[in-house]
Symmetry: C2
Subunit: 387 residues, 2 copies
Amino acid sequence: MISRGFDNAECEARTKRAQEKLASQDLAGLLLMTEPDIRYFTGFHTLFWQSPTRPWFLFVPQTGKPIAIIPEIGAALMAQSWIDDIRCWSAPTPDDDGLSLLYDLLSPIEARGQKIGMLKGHETSLRMPLQDFETLCARLPNLILEDATEIVRSLRVVKTPAEIEKLRHICAIGSASFADVPNFIEKGMPLEEVFRQFRITALGHGADDVPYLVGAAGQGGYVDVISPPSRRPLQDGDILMLDTGATWDGYFCDFDRNFAIGSADDEAKRAYDVLWQATQAGLEAAKPGNSCADLFHAMAKITKQIDPTGGDIGRFGHGLGMQLTEQPSHAAFDHRIIEQGMVLTLEPSLSYGNGHMMVHEENILITDTGAELLTTRASETLPIICT
Amino acid sequence: MISRGFDNAECEARTKRAQEKLASQDLAGLLLMTEPDIRYFTGFHTLFWQSPTRPWFLFVPQTGKPIAIIPEIGAALMAQSWIDDIRCWSAPTPDDDGLSLLYDLLSPIEARGQKIGMLKGHETSLRMPLQDFETLCARLPNLILEDATEIVRSLRVVKTPAEIEKLRHICAIGSASFADVPNFIEKGMPLEEVFRQFRITALGHGADDVPYLVGAAGQGGYVDVISPPSRRPLQDGDILMLDTGATWDGYFCDFDRNFAIGSADDEAKRAYDVLWQATQAGLEAAKPGNSCADLFHAMAKITKQIDPTGGDIGRFGHGLGMQLTEQPSHAAFDHRIIEQGMVLTLEPSLSYGNGHMMVHEENILITDTGAELLTTRASETLPIICT
């Protein structure tokens, strides 16, 4: 049985690797405030981040253990981690939500003329009130806050064996759930009920949760891939797409499947076939040494048979882990080299017919020589169900 | 049957109310970038925000319809809303993720010497890369960005009838789910399985999703209220607490229930009784004209019978709506006056015995004269199940 959580030794090893990079960039430390980044170095795992009320901070110094500056409500759970120095305040306290504690920690660093790193780059956000951040900067006018996004990203893009084990597990649960779709879907079922039954099915197969489930259904195809469910009943001739991010122990699968309800026209079958072949091209290109851009171009070469635009989604897949989508991006702009241990999605998409679009997605692990599917490969031809 | 979504007229009315406040504060517009705030004015509802990759923007001008500046992947869904002016880019584009479009929109405002509002205050965050925000500010050096948190908050704290209908619905689903707990729980069941069965039960009762579920179980009581599930089996003498945020059509219930497994000691029974009475005092104090601080003190007066500290959570409840927790806070610092149409939680907590803590929570609607329970009131005495 797979363990929940991570050994302290793993969190410590991750921290040491970050600290080597901090040293090489002459940064006194790294100030973090987002859930996956704090979890990465501490193992601190809670859904409580869904409440926007309280900020949370972790400071990773260039040497020694990280320091947690967190609301008192999290102290008991953080005390179970490998972190010893846990500084708390009774949050919320709108006029001082961690600021004094941050000031006390950072002002000696400022006084020494040292720099610290923060996550300021692509795909990051500032998870504290902007006003509080401005106040902190005004109180520490000489503190240099450099972007350190690449330090954290370069670690997180390559998964550890313990992370891969969790990702493999949730991808298998997702695959088993999609295999069950023909067993619970019927014509006339409203889309909201399809979504509900999918979630129940995934939980039944062992998912902890299904935080992400979007999809669409329409005659001959769908036009949107990020909608919540409507009450429209499934009809003969619909193409149904479900895209799920299910989780186990805080790790996501992220893939979709297409189904034709009762029957399918040739345009939809052709779109499916081209996307399947594009994914196949992606699978062959997904190996150490190639770049994410190479992966994109390998897939785009195939999708161009129908759609020269490259679609609305902006990329053909991405990294996968603690977040539904992580760095890197399979896009022409992303020249990151693929490495063993990356867990990626392959997600070509295209427009076809009368304004329809179609997406396909698989989840893969990069091995020393190529790609291993973590998902059960989609059927080679468009599955027609409820016949 | 309750409708999904909102009429365009409702989104328009919300916008007009915000625009009156913008005018009175001499703001040319309001720049939004967080999910619930954009949803509030547009009806745009998708789980795709879980992907951190792309920023999304909505600009509410002082007059006229809001302008959406969003990734192309969202264009089809946004086009179903009442928004006409939808400006898209192929995202992700790390070196220009919406910045040029924002610049084009805001530079005429800067040139006119006008100010705009942003959400910079308590409980907000900057959902775009800090580096991009700094670049935008550098390109618009004379644009004044004022905090407008209170404009949006003062609208969102009082729910509309259509919002109340959704909240009433999901609270009823949550109540039905908790009523089923004794039917699926048994001694020896690992906590992860308790969580899974609770989610399946809530979906079966009609929830769209159960994004938030935390809880704990321990002999004579629990020590933490934000943990993910462990594999520890339920044992005779455990106190089990489950706290859920289930959703329907993007609106949350948020409440918890306590159960004694097989038996309970007098300390736990006493803690439960005091908390039940504290909630009762909160129910009586929850009426228009009283403040959130009044509500806090009414409950604290009772919890002090056991615990003079006020607990680790920092407040005794909060607002409820599109987010698991919303403004206001039932805390000594929050002097907001309670108004008809607010939907609130009452959530007293206390420490007792040997380091244990206990929480209680109900969800209420403020009426013209008092409070109406949206949740089925917790049993007056600690329920002992699996006997």
